[in-house]
């Protein structure tokens, strides 16, 4: 039988006969949902830089957890949530100061990011044995996802989506027009902190599949593509989740049959979708 005679069903059946691939698909789907939903809010709120910083913080989180001998997810969640709180405190202080603007925010975010990565590097050096594992912490490995991790991811996904479902409308108002939101009694600053913590939790979940350096691709690209395709928030969130899931599934399948790494396929496919969406959005604008 030649490779061309394979039907999609055969392909899926072959991959899913391996337990680790089943777990990879489950985890990938959950992660796509998480990253799609929070990523859309991140893009709408123009917090991509903060999002990228939160993503890379997964690396010192994991390295620190390995060094201390605690479960890796404790490190991921602990480090990202603390960073989320630091970032939200920084921006809250900035807006209260009046003269202090967004520029200082970005200096803070950049400093936090570099410091976190430097800590991660130090942890790795201290642990010494992990050096080969650094690459997989940074770029992910979907081959070693356990059933326990999938359950954990499911719990996180349900929690984050539930919180966002409750807060979504107010968060959206605070995003689009903070002044009006404040006048209507929406606690804008508290919402900002809550959102950064949610983003942190999503990143902590996603990082286990994609690695610290590539979480950001799943966070920003499907959401940015969805934003180009529709202006309606609910539809855009749904699209961003669908695009994310389609990209993860395709990337896992292609990576399974090709010698090149999953991280490359994930980012390349997501980027292709984004470029296509941007081109489509532009032609539609011109047609009007």
């Amino acid at each position: 039988m030649t490779a061309t005679a394979w039907s999609p069903v055969d392909v899926l059946r072959e991959m899913w006969s391996l337990p680790f691939m089943v777990n990879a698909f489950r985890a990938g789907t959950l992660v796509a949902v998480l990253a799609g939903v929070t990523g859309w809010f991140m893009v709408a709120r123009r917090q991509t830089f903060a999002g990228h910083t939160l993503s890379v913080v997964g690396f010192p989180g994991a390295a620190g957890a390995v060094l201390l001998g605690v479960p890796v997810w404790v490190g991921y969640v602990g480090f990202t949530v603390v960073t989320g709180l630091v970032l939200s405190r920084g921006s809250a202080g900035g807006s209260a100061g009046g003269s202090v603007g967004r520029e200082e925010d970005s200096a803070l975010i950049g400093t936090v990011q570099a410091f976190a990565l430097a800590c991660g590097f130090w942890f790795v050096v201290l642990y010494a044995g992990l050096l080969g594992g650094t690459t997989s912490l940074l770029f992910g490995s979907f081959l070693a996802i356990t059933t326990g991790q999938v359950t954990f991811l499911l719990a996180l996904t349900v929690a984050v989506v539930a919180v966002l479902a409750v807060l979504g409308r107010r968060l959206l108002l605070a995003t689009v027009d903070p002044a009006v939101a404040q006048a209507r009694g929406v606690p804008v600053r508290a919402l900002d902190a809550v959102f950064l913590v949610l983003l942190a939790v999503s990143v902590a979940a996603t990082v286990q599949v994609t690695g610290a350096l590539l979480v950001f691709a799943l966070l920003v690209l499907p959401a940015a593509a969805a934003q180009r395709l529709t202006a309606r928030p609910a539809l855009a969130v749904a699209m961003s989740v669908l695009i994310g899931a389609a990209v993860v599934w395709t990337a896992l399948t292609v990576a399974f049959f090709s010698p090149y790494p999953f991280g490359f396929w994930l980012t390349a496919l997501a980027f292709a979708v984004y470029v296509a969406a941007a081109a489509w959005g532009r032609t539609r604008e011109r047609a009007r």
Partner: protein, 275 residues
């Protein structure tokens, strides 16, 4: 400490990089382009690994990718200031390419190449030779001279883009030229603190200087001093404590100075408000 040639090389190269990174970082902060620098620093990683995978000198990839990335960012954006989402999207993809090159490079050869990625990501300041130090110092001088020449129009274009444009300042050209300088700085700094940590040497001294002084000329100088002090203190600390990698120590000192500067400016602002 100075009896070891590698420490002398590290101090000279580190100083050269810091003297440039401070002022560039300050300008990045006031132009609100720290995220762009973040993207460029990741682009250098992909460039370095692409060069390694193709069997070229690492620096060809570093500088090539950084300058190409800077021109790309300049073209993508309106008036040389691209949108954050576009930057994010592009550099997420570029990092993915970096992963591809890393796997091409480390799978095609023996195990010793497996850690090449780690060196590029986190720097190897103690492994510089005299030739690299000379190149680093020469480039630092070139960047500083360019910056001195275009400093005034750049600042004008930063503070009020519209007025600067109306007065005949080529805003877009200057924005792109500045990004190229950022790219060159990032490529240089990659050899010292690594692609992932450059951002600290750019954002922390720049952010600290902005909080300490409102006058651009003073702040640029301050940023350079803070960056140099960070590099020196970091190198000395890691010499005293060999288990601490130099790039961590450098970034930790820079972060510490940023925190102190932020606290000091908040405190003095509070006092002024009370008075």
């Amino acid at each position: 400490m100075f009896s070891h040639p590698f420490m002398v090389h590290a101090l000279v190269a580190g100083t050269a990089v810091a003297v440039v990174a401070g002022p560039i970082g300050y300008l990045l902060v006031i132009r609100g382009q720290v995220f762009g620098a973040d993207a460029l620093s990741h682009v250098t990683f992909t460039g370095a690994l692409a060069a390694l995978a193709a069997g070229l000198d690492l620096r060809v990839g570093l500088f090539g990718a950084a300058v190409a990335g800077a021109l790309g960012l300049g073209l993508l954006g309106r008036r040389g200031r691209p949108d954050d989402v576009v930057i994010g999207g592009v550099f997420a993809f570029v990092l993915g390419l970096g992963v591809l090159f890393l796997s091409l490079y480390s799978s095609g050869r023996s195990g010793a190449h497996g850690t090449a990625g780690v060196g590029v990501l986190f720097g190897s300041i103690l492994g510089l030779d005299a030739g690299q130090v000379t190149v680093t110092a020469a480039l630092a001088v070139a960047v500083l001279v360019t910056l001195a020449v275009m400093g005034r129009p750049l600042l004008f274009a930063t503070v009020d883009e519209a007025v600067a444009g109306a007065r005949g300042v080529p805003v877009r050209l200057i924005g792109t030229a500045f990004l190229v300088l950022v790219g060159v700085t990032a490529a240089q700094a990659t050899q010292v603190v690594g692609a992932l940590l450059i951002l600290g040497l750019l954002a922390a001294p720049g952010g600290a200087a902005l909080r300490l002084s409102n006058r651009p000329a003073v702040a640029v100088g301050l940023a350079a001093v803070i960056a140099v002090v960070s590099v020196w203190t970091g190198l000395i600390a890691s010499y005293a404590l060999p288990s601490m990698p130099p790039s961590f120590a450098v970034i930790a000192v820079a972060t510490g100075i940023f925190v102190v500067a932020a606290a000091a400016s908040t405190w003095s602002r509070g006092r002024r408000r009370d008075a």
